[in-house]
Symmetry: D2
Subunit: 269 residues, 4 copies
């Protein structure tokens, strides 16, 4: 620590007062600031507009729960094994929020941002201009053998219903910005390059929307995790009343098939 | 798994549709349901009223961030050490949400519920009746040498500003129920038994409010963790722009004082 | 921090030297101290004898891996979902090491210790005396409606092969102390009280042995977790070569059965 | 699951028997297989030689504890905050085992492996040949503006004592293979390219040794985490007897310096 101490604009308290983001917590935050709004505010230290909050909460709703995902199964199994620690069950589930599942949100937001950041001159203003940028972008990804983040879905092959809906909400609120514009354009033009039509997936559109909202790009995954925390509490609540974790465990354990060890190729020894 | 499969009322999807809690996610949830409302709904499978949501979100605001708590320091240090894993930094912070810190919320809610549950006859209707129940409750705790959960605070010795504010909000919304009534009565009568005046703390009143809202008692800690997830994202966002974790680490490491091992008393060997 | 800094007898380093437990790490620890021995030493700051190490490592072997337990499934599923974070997959698995599964080791060690601690006069010296103490202990547990920790196993109903083996090793090494003596006596006498014969389980005998070795009682669960860390790495290594996690996930997800929400009983609102 | 069930060669049990890696756990593993040996065996499904075990355990000793690292501080703070969950405190500490700290071990092992893998023709046999390969390797890294993993240390600037010691042990045991050879050669030749002499660090040499031992490259970080689990238990044991976590927490919290919010650059809204 320097002589100046550890600076923070978040929670602080004295004997008689508690402040959060420079405001009186009891008088000016509790009862006046919704939870989505507060989460946004905490992440940016900038109070969002009502429109920004609506889009942000739509993203959180889109990502909160997707049924029996690995993260949901993990939370239920961990609670089965260690019912003394709700925090452990939730933390275990969140640890599945990595590159493969929740990562799409982050990857898409960062990808779009990098394209926009590298773009020289003013950003496109009309759809045709966005389409041209998108076309060049998809072509370049293809040429370098890389996927376009946010494009494709293993279930919603004919279109992910979250995508047009989130764009609609963003448009209604006047916060449809360049990341969503570019993402939409990618959705229009990619068949010309790839030779087939893929859906713009929900995780991707959420990443684009979060980037448009001006949330920290390196923490986009964090918002997916926040949404999922609410979902995992829902999973635990359901598990308490209609348990399935023990059946899941037994379905694996009772179907184990002992095999001979398969020695890993040896080292120098 | 039985022949009937694994039942769930949470997220489900088919090729063309995604539902959550039995509703069409894109059409009926996104853009229409706030995040606090959704978290409540997921946990109870019962859609809350606007008043319930306001109290619930006030609780989440009260618990979201308390500055440089151990959980906040842990999240920042973990991110310093493993910046590749936002999920790991958040999960590590949440793991501090146990019996000592966030546990007060859960302990208070459960304690109040047990008193109410053990109460024979109709619940009190007037303040004097609540006071009588509270007096007996505090006296019994004292006689058995146990603390009263939610009573006392190491900083806000003259009163925790969150407590009257949350009661006020609950009263405004008509959801001030028996847990808050009993908690308030404990605040009024405990000096008669304990011989000194202690504040009803914010973590405790949150537990009482969550119990009044009908949220699952065994998961009360989970809501504190949900609130804290938003706070920890805020901590990470601030760490990215105004880092302190490395200074914290060095302040400990550079002040280490090597001492001789202190052998633990031996076993039978 | 006080003026005196943060004391530690564990790892320390200067520009030219690294010490661990007061010894030169490179010269006196690496190549000379086995891993089980080191773990014991770190936990007690007391170098164990060869006999103590052998018993300790036998305990770790007994607890390292039990096949497709919830913790193993959790580690595999988390790795499936977040392959970028090996630490997250291992941590998630360890979080299942709570009261229900790995907790038996800790519960048994603490239970035996409390009985011995409460025993007045010198400890028993002969089997008959141990049997008398065990009889009183089991009878008291039964009278108060509580289980005897370490007694019973859902699979090894006719006896857990780890139990006699660990006792044999402890006896060979001369470190069979009062916790194991009492545990063995419980095995002999409990049918007289309970009316049926239950096996002394492996998790329990491990707790008794760890207590006899003089390891910190409040951390007994930690040694089970250390053993399990090795097991979970084995699970991940096998998953890399012969993956099952995606099949486990699909077996749950494809068998989900959407049901109507089941509203939780409401609160005051 | 296919009709064939979930294959595993790890732990399995029936009513009367428990096997691990195809061996009878009680008769053939407990009391006969050390913990380091077992961890190696579990990870490779190939029983190591005594020499391989000695090198492996030397690596684990080198990585077990480095004093008040972020991971150690995190484990202590988490235990302070949630003393009910030893598993949570250990898991939180392990979550710091990411790219920055423990990652060096993995990065070095993988880097060396990739160089060897890309090498055409037979591997070098004499020091001069290794030096030539090392020279080309370091030059190429420099030309592409990348660091050489395992080279450099912020404290042990004149040499990390673990490095020559681990090479010596590997040589004594006849398991000094191509990864260590190449790493040693890098230590000899890099000044010619970089213009200054940097130490081969301990984390790096451990990665080289683990790669030579034939352990799974994608799990090298896991072995550092296994070592660290033992270290973190040591940290918790010391914390129980000589606590510092609360002082660390207060040293941060009491030195917090409230500042005004610093709004993040806005989005499109």
């Amino acid at each position: 620590m320097g002589a100046a101490g550890y600076p923070t604009a978040l929670g602080a308290s004295s004997t008689d007062a508690i402040t959060l983001l420079g405001h009186d917590l009891a008088a000016d935050v509790m009862g006046k600031v919704g939870f989505g709004e507060l989460a946004y505010w905490l992440a940016t230290q900038r109070r969002p507009t009502a429109g920004q909050v609506r889009v942000f909460e739509a993203v959180l709703a889109a990502l909160a729960d997707h049924g029996f995902t690995p993260t949901a199964i993990v939370t239920r199994l961990t609670y089965l094994s260690a019912p003394d620690s709700v925090q452990g069950a939730l933390a275990a589930g969140l640890l599945g929020g990595g590159s493969r599942f929740l990562g799409v949100t982050e990857d898409t937001g960062i990808f779009l941002h990098e394209v926009l950041d590298a773009h020289e001159g003013p950003l496109p203003a009309r759809d045709e201009e966005w389409d041209a940028l998108a076309l060049a972008t998809v072509a370049e990804r293809r040429a370098s053998g890389r996927f376009v983040p946010g494009l494709g879905h293993h279930v919603h092959k004919r279109g992910d219903p979250r995508t047009p809906r989130l764009m609609e909400i963003a448009r209604e609120e006047g916060v449809l910005g360049p990341h969503l514009e570019l993402f939409a354009a990618i959705g229009r033009v990619h068949p010309d390059v790839l030779g087939r039509t893929l859906p713009l997936n929900g995780a991707g559109v959420c990443g684009a929307a979060l980037a448009d909202l001006g949330l920290p790009l390196r923490l986009l995954r964090g918002f997916a995790l926040l949404a999922r925390t609410a979902g995992l509490i829902g999973q635990l609540a359901e598990e308490l009343r209609h348990p399935v974790a023990n059946d899941v465990f037994l379905s694996v354990d009772l179907n184990n098939r002992p095999v001979e060890p398969d020695p890993y190729p040896g080292g120098a020894g």
